[in-house]
């Protein structure tokens, strides 16, 4: 059977786990076996109904007095024990921070190989996987072997689709955990009150890079973002120079954005940055250099100096408003 680890944060699930289940169901079909899911912790109980439509034969409620909050090694130990008890041929997780983390612990505990961020998987004695490299700028075909195949599913590469299983059995499973498994466990949370628009949720993001030239240079971008109800982001050049805080960074090692429109000002279009704005529906590039690589990834372009174009744009929007 194929075992999927459902990732959740105190009972809140993300779409990436449903995408993982969809890929897992495909694998189960390929190999003529069934898909089963692990829901770890008491607060995951509410998720049974959410995941049932995704075509699994069984749901395992994994509970233990110490599994009351996220603890990566303990989650992994529970998964290893459940996987062995059920004779899993593959264990899957979402390719998210926690998904990759738990699976890496499973890999470390068992000595098995792990393929992170897979977009396609072909089952067999040896699995053939297509996985993301360079934050999705390149793909890699690889072979994965081992008694149990460990795979994480790259977020948003598989569309989550439902497929009912006639009967879904729900079973309880209590793992045996050691002190060592519980050394790392969430001790405290500092929840930041959501203050309206964020980089992740903004409808419009106005990004600035090398061409902005200074921290003060961002004032015009702030103004444009304000009139459009959007938010300002920056390239790695902007955050590394200290012009913007790192929390503003759009990119592979910053935030991945998905706005309706991304207005990129004075950014050349390095891969590091392009990966971060791939999710934008439309991209408008403002740059003095027509040869900037970003133009070949954009929908719209303005050739010109952002220090002139952006103020003109603010004035024009105000005129219409």
């Amino acid at each position: 059977m194929i075992l999927g680890i459902i990732e959740h944060d105190r009972g809140v699930i993300e779409a990436t786990s449903l995408q993982m289940l969809t890929l897992g169901r495909g694998l189960a079909e390929q190999t003529g076996t069934s898909l089963e899911a692990a829901l770890i912790g008491d607060d995951a109980a509410s998720l049974e109904e959410t995941i049932k439509p995704f075509g699994m034969a069984a749901i395992h409620r994994v509970t233990h007095p110490q599994l009351d909050d996220y603890a990566p090694a303990a989650w992994a130990e529970a998964v290893v024990q459940l996987g062995r008890a059920r004779g899993a041929q593959a264990i899957l997780a979402a390719g998210s921070d926690r998904g990759n983390e738990v699976l890496a612990h499973v890999a470390a505990k068992t000595g098995l190989a792990m393929a992170a961020n897979c977009a396609q998987v072909e089952a067999g004695d040896v699995y053939r996987v297509l996985r993301l490299r360079w934050g999705s700028s390149l793909l890699e075909e690889a072979e994965l072997s081992g008694e149990i195949k460990l795979l994480s599913v790259a977020p948003h590469t598989v569309e989550a689709t439902e497929a009912r299983c006639d009967t879904v059995t729900v079973e309880d499973f209590e793992p045996t955990l050691s002190e060592a498994d519980l050394r790392v466990k969430v001790t405290r949370r500092d929840e930041t009150a959501s203050s309206g628009v964020t980089l992740k949720t903004a409808r419009v993001v106005v990004g600035g890079g090398r061409g902005v030239g200074s921290a003060e240079g961002f004032a015009v971008l702030e103004e444009l973002a304000a009139v459009l109800g959007g938010i300002v982001g920056g390239s790695r050049v902007a955050t590394n120079n200290g012009w913007r805080p790192h929390t503003n960074q759009v990119g592979l090692t910053g935030t991945r954005i998905a706005p309706q429109l991304y207005i990129a000002c004075g950014i050349s279009g390095a891969i590091q940055h392009l990966v971060g704005c791939k999710g934008a529906k439309h991209i408008l590039v403002i740059n003095t250099d027509r040869e900037a690589p970003f133009f070949s990834k954009a929908d719209y372009g303005v050739i010109g100096d952002l220090h002139e174009v952006v103020p003109a744009l603010v004035a024009e929007v105000k005129k219409r408003g």
Binding site: E101, A104, A108, V184, Q249, T253, P293
Partner: protein
Amino acid sequence: MNILVCVKRVPDTGAKLRLTEDERAVDTRRLGFTISPHEECAVEEAVQIIEREGGEGVVLTLGPAEAEEQLRDSLARGMDRAILLEIDGEDWDPQRTAEAIVESVRREAASGHQYDLIIFGNESADSGGYQIGVRVAHALDLPCVTGVKGIDIRGGVLQARREIAAGWEVYEVQMPVVLTTKEGLNLPRYPSLRGTMGAKKKPFSRSSPSHSEGDLRLQRVLHPADQGKEVEILGEGPAAAPRVVELLEKLGLLE
């Protein structure tokens, strides 16, 4: 406080990636090399902690002879000593990479060098396997916190902060500990001229670990299907503003 930071030499890619003829790697003939932003922050954090608390900062990599360049760069930024686990040809898979690092840490321990903290980048820039740090932690029976963007050390207890959708979560662990870090942890310094000169004289050791094949084997690297976008140039300079506003209206962004 003795700290080991593990880094990886990767091509500095810029805007375009070209592949080698055998399609097994990025063509690096015209590229410079670097380490990932996550690892730059790991080096910076180690240097800052040692400046505060004293101790030794060691930087390690498993890579080709040329990776000396990245190790020297970390020495120039303030690390004290470097270890190169020299390999030929292609990257090693994650299982074998972790084993070689563990062996090196054990050898160091046997010669009296114990680490209080071992830091990795959260994932490598190129392969993005998300597992070396966790594998090393388990082999050494140490706790491991990944994705760390804030570190606070008090009396042998390390507090690590990581970002989640709802804000921050905090982990408290007894040292020694393995961490994997993310960019944003700090703002890495550039090496000073003095640092660069001094780096040439700092202790540097090399060894060649023996290799066997792992269970994740790269076959081929390829480009993702191109989305074939054709850019529409709306104009030049400030005169383009009215057409941009038309676009904003069309996209329904001016309500």
